[in-house]
């Protein structure tokens, strides 16, 4: 067994320090060691997208990285989207448009959309559809998710 390494990360603005074997997946480190249970694990081979997080501002699959690789990084997970006890406009839009059912893929969806609307605040519906295609949802049929993304974009444009 390889020795544990120190892992220092900032998650949702909070500094964390932990120790992990090199093989420990970042998704497991977030959940098991930091007890940030919002990030969900759905396939552990990078396809379902439920574990998507922002890693230094970029969306990545946390099941395809080792925790030791994250040292020094700034991470944002679903727990970090709402601020001051208030839903983010994306979360509001998801609620208003029924863009989630079981809610298991939702953390990955929200992080994906959060990044997408930052890069593309005025998307077409087709772009929104493509953006969420990296996260599998088995419940919704995606239609209401795409509707929510478009509505969120509008909310955010108005607020900006």
């Amino acid at each position: 067994m390889a020795d544990k390494r120190q892992v220092k990360v900032k998650v949702n603005g909070v500094e964390y320090e932990g120790y992990a074997e090199p093989r420990k997946l970042l998704s497991d480190f977030l959940r098991d060691d930091l007890e940030l249970l919002g990030t969900h694990v759905g396939c552990e081979h990078g396809i379902c997208g439920a574990c998507t997080i922002l890693f230094n501002g970029e969306p990545i699959r946390s099941c395809l990285m080792f925790a030791v690789q994250a040292t020094g990084a700034e991470i944002m997970t679903v727990e970090g989207i709402a601020e001051n006890g208030k839903l983010h406009p994306i979360q509001e839009a998801f609620n208003e448009h029924h863009a989630l059912q079981c809610g298991f893929c939702t953390p990955g969806m929200l992080i994906t959309v959060y990044h997408f609307l930052k890069e593309n605040p005025n998307p077409t519906e087709e772009e929104a559809r493509e953006a969420v295609s990296g996260v599998l949802c088995r419940c919704t049929g995606y239609t209401q998710i795409v509707e929510a993304v478009m509505a969120a974009a509008e909310k955010m444009r108005i607020a900006a």
Binding site: F94, Q101, C102, R138, C139
Partner: protein, 808 residues
């Protein structure tokens, strides 16, 4: 009651569940952390069929962090085979005992300090297998020289039954102008929820009792059967289902064997054991629908009237048969003739053993397999007779004036207007215009097709259907089975707050929201004031064997139980109000959450004062009234009767209707399919929450697109699974989901409190045949017959290629 205009029910009230789910605060199985919890990993068979000669766990036991190892021998000692509704002696243990019968079957379980270490130790278990020839093809499995999976059965037939309803088939054929026949293959696919199975089990030797957290979706008959398998009283095995389940779709009815297995593991190792199924395990060995071969014949008159059907359906439940199978073949008994007035049916059913993964109900349970054959043969009959596929459906629909209608097989359709609902679908898709468009497209050499399907969507299964797996004679010696009970507790706390405890065990269907809407209407409060607890704990919740979320039972029986419990509670409140106001109960009126004498509305008392009296001053209650304020219901639908002496059974309780119209274009060079237009019209009775219902319909459509075009648990001839990762088991992404116009035609059920029927499974049943019909229609000019799914571009290209080769 039904159809009445409500304040909250019928509105798209925003989901209450979302607040926690959007902020990463849900409680799913893997979020449950218990003290001293250890972690299990399962060693699984690499062979489809092999004898187990030896399992050597000595090295694994020495591995770092390992607490214990459990093998099939341990499981055999600690449990009995699961009971199942067939007459052959099945031997389904939760872990392979002497033989493995499918790739992925559990062979041993390691418990270690964490999952990484547990998986390391799996690598150290040495299993000596003697590989045997495997059989994966349904029809080959019942040939006399096929390798036999279960020596104690002697063949690969788990179940074989004949049924005859109405006129004898040969006589019918003489009356018919045409008899159209074909063979169809329906694939094996799954719900594949993004959250996999999960179990945490612990055992106390002092009480000889188990606590098992798991994300089971029901039916709770399997709680009883698991207790039987473990040989313990049912009340010594407490199951706790967390608030949030990450999707079910029927797949999670298949967890219960792992509840037994992990109970055995917890007992043997003496620790609390957590097992979270990984995706590979899920794709290999959770549960799929049955794949089915159907030989079907339709006897039709020249005018399009279908006189009768004859079918032989052969399902496989894989390496074992386990409950609720053989339901795959019998769940649809009452609605076998679908939306059509067909009085004559000749049925043969086989359920067959093959070296493939096991099965469970999948959204639509048994109906997509059925309707793929019946709706395809309907189109083929229309083509043969030169009738439009829409016309043949109109010709055969059960008419609204025939309602309530009892089918030849015993189904009781209470309401519906199939021709009108179907017409609505045709109007939305602009059917005539699309036919014109198709004509033009064909003239340009394009392959455009229009596919229709019109099906009856059964919900709230009556457990009685399981009994049909046995003959009338065999059933005579057994207790009758019937029921569809669903439970609810509505309680008002000392400060007047309303809490509802539901037993419907939701997996994303929004029950907390809809229940709050119903309570808001019943009690005259705001939905936000209502708290709904959806944890299902077998030790303190009201439930029965039929409890859970399956067969779309919430909208019908779940809501009725909520309404009944509410009204019971309100009746009690009225009695207390009468006592407090010193008037007769009959004179108490409740409106907007206030109770008053009918002639003195100005002197109203609020619910919270009545609750206050019931809780804070228990001495001063009317004679014979218990303290507190609550109502309970475990309501079963009165139409849930046992099968009759002629194998007729009302296998479900409410029957909705779905019309699907899909326009596709096939790229004849690549075999790729594009959806040009799609209308989906549903009669789900009263719509409780339009936004939620729309989500349910769109969700069932995307899964059905998956099963029709992308998803399959596929095997090679040796029984090796070809689709054990999400790179090969292809769930549709947002890019594969077309625009679909969803609409409704409401005929409220007269059997349920709010008039609602199921809505979440209809398109699961109607989309596979509609896609099949659309592609068949597109390829018709080439003489291609579509008789299997899923239709990948490669498959379609070969169909086109072969047809072209024939004509050249």
């Amino acid at each position: 009651m039904s159809g009445e205009k409500k304040k909250w029910v019928g509105s798209s009230y925003k989901r209450k569940e979302d607040m926690r789910l959007l902020t990463g605060r849900g409680t799913f199985m893997d979020d449950i952390l218990l003290p001293n919890m250890k972690h299990a990993a399962i060693l699984r068979s690499p062979y489809a069929h092999a004898k187990i000669l030896d399992v050597d766990i000595s090295e694994a036991l020495k591995a770092p962090g390992v607490i214990g190892v459990v093998t099939g021998e341990d499981v055999k000692k600690a449990s009995k085979p699961y009971p199942c509704g067939v007459t052959i002696p099945t031997k389904y243990y939760t872990c392979a005992v002497d033989k493995v019968r499918f790739v992925g079957e559990p062979v041993a379980v390691v418990v270690a300090d964490n999952r990484y270490l547990a998986e390391d130790a799996l690598d150290l278990i040495e299993v000596d297998y003697d590989p045997l020839e495997a059989v994966v093809d349904i029809e080959k499995a019942i040939e006399p020289d096929a390798p036999v999976l279960h020596e104690n059965i002697g063949s690969n037939i788990y179940n074989h039954r004949f049924f005859k309803y109405g006129t004898d088939w040969d006589t019918l054929c003489q009356e018919a102008d045409e008899v159209v026949k074909w063979k169809f293959n329906f694939p094996k696919y799954a719900g594949s929820p993004i959250e996999t199975y999960g179990v945490i089990a612990s055992y106390s030797s002092f009480e000889n009792s188990y606590v098992v957290y798991n994300n089971y979706q029901g039916p709770f008959v399997n709680h009883a059967l698991t207790a039987m398998a473990l040989g313990i009283p049912e009340n010594k095995m407490r199951w706790i289902i967390p608030t949030d389940i990450g999707g079910g779709f029927g797949t999670k009815t298949g967890i219960y064997p792992y509840c037994a297995l992990m109970s055995i593991v917890a007992k043997k190792t003496g620790v609390t054991v957590k097992w979270i199924e990984d995706r590979r395990e899920h794709l290999l060995a959770s549960a799929t629908c049955t794949d089915r071969v159907t030989y079907i014949e339709a006897a039709v008159r020249k005018d399009g009237k279908i006189l009768g059907l004859k079918d032989k359906a052969m399902d496989t439940t894989g390496g074992y048969i386990r409950p609720p199978e053989p339901g795959c073949a019998y769940r649809s008994t009452g609605n076998h003739t679908g939306a059509y007035d067909i009085r004559n049916l000749d049925r043969e059913v086989y359920i067959v053993a093959t070296n493939k993964g096991l099965t469970a109900p999948l959204r639509g349970y048994g109906c997509q397999e059925l309707y793929f054959s019946t709706e395809r043969i309907t189109d083929m009959a229309a083509a043969k007779l030169g009738i439009d596929p829409a016309e043949i459906r109109f010709k055969n629909f059960v008419q609204p004036e025939q309602m309530p209608y009892t089918t030849a097989t015993g189904g009781y359709y209470d309401v519906g207007n199939y021709p009108a609902a179907f017409q609505k679908c045709l109007d939305i898709v602009e059917y005539d215009k699309m036919r014109e468009y198709q004509k033009k497209a064909r003239a340009e050499g394009r392959l455009v097709g229009i596919g229709l399907a019109s099906v009856v969507d059964p919900s709230v299964t009556n457990i009685a259907y399981v009994a049909i797996g046995k003959t009338i004679e065999e059933r005579k010696n057994e207790r009758d089975k019937s029921g569809s009970g669903e439970a609810a507790i509505v309680k008002v706390d000392p400060l007047g707050g309303i809490t509802v405890i539901c037993s419907t065990n939701p997996q994303g269907q929004g029950h907390e929201t809809v229940i709050s809407q119903i309570i808001a209407d019943e009690f005259g409060v705001h939905p936000d004031e209502v708290v709904v607890d959806s944890v299902l704990d077998s030790s303190d919740r009201l439930y029965s064997i039929t409890t859970g979320s399956f067969s779309s039972r919430f909208a019908s029986s779940g809501t009725t139980a909520i309404v009944r419990a509410s009204r019971q509670c309100i009746e009690k409140a009225k009695k207390i109000a009468a006592h407090l106001m010193k008037i007769k109960v009959e004179d108490v009126v409740m409106e907007e959450g206030k109770f008053f004498a009918k002639d003195k509305p100005e002197k109203a008392i609020k619910l919270r004062h009545i609750a206050g009296a019931a809780h804070w001053n228990q001495y001063d209650l009317p004679e014979g009234i218990d303290a507190g304020l609550f109502g309970t219901s475990l309501w079963t639908m009165p139409t849930s009767r046992p099968p009759d002496g002629k194998d007729r059974v009302n296998s479900s309780n409410t029957y909705g209707f779905v019309a699907e119209a899909i326009v596709v274009e096939v790229d004849q060079e690549t075999g790729e399919i594009t959806f040009l237009k799609w209308a989906s019209v549903h009669d789900a009775g009263t719509i409780l929450n339009p936004q939620i219902v729309r989500g349910q319909v769109l969700g069932s459509i995307v899964q059905a697109i998956g099963g029709s075009m992308y998803e399959e648990q596929a095997y090679d001839e040796h029984g090796q699974c070809l689709t054990a990762s999400f790179a090969d088991y292809l769930c549709p992404t947002a890019m594969e989901m077309p625009k679909v116009d969803v609409d409704h035609f409401e005929s409220p059920s007269v059997l349920t409190a709010l008039g609602s029927k199921g809505a979440g499974e209809g398109s699961s049943m109607s989309v596979p045949p509609a896609i099949g019909n659309a592609i068949a229609d597109a390829l018709a000019p080439l003489g291609v017959v579509v008789d299997e799914l899923p239709l990948s571009p490669s498959k379609i290209w070969h169909m086109i290629d072969e047809a072209k080769a024939k004509t050249n």
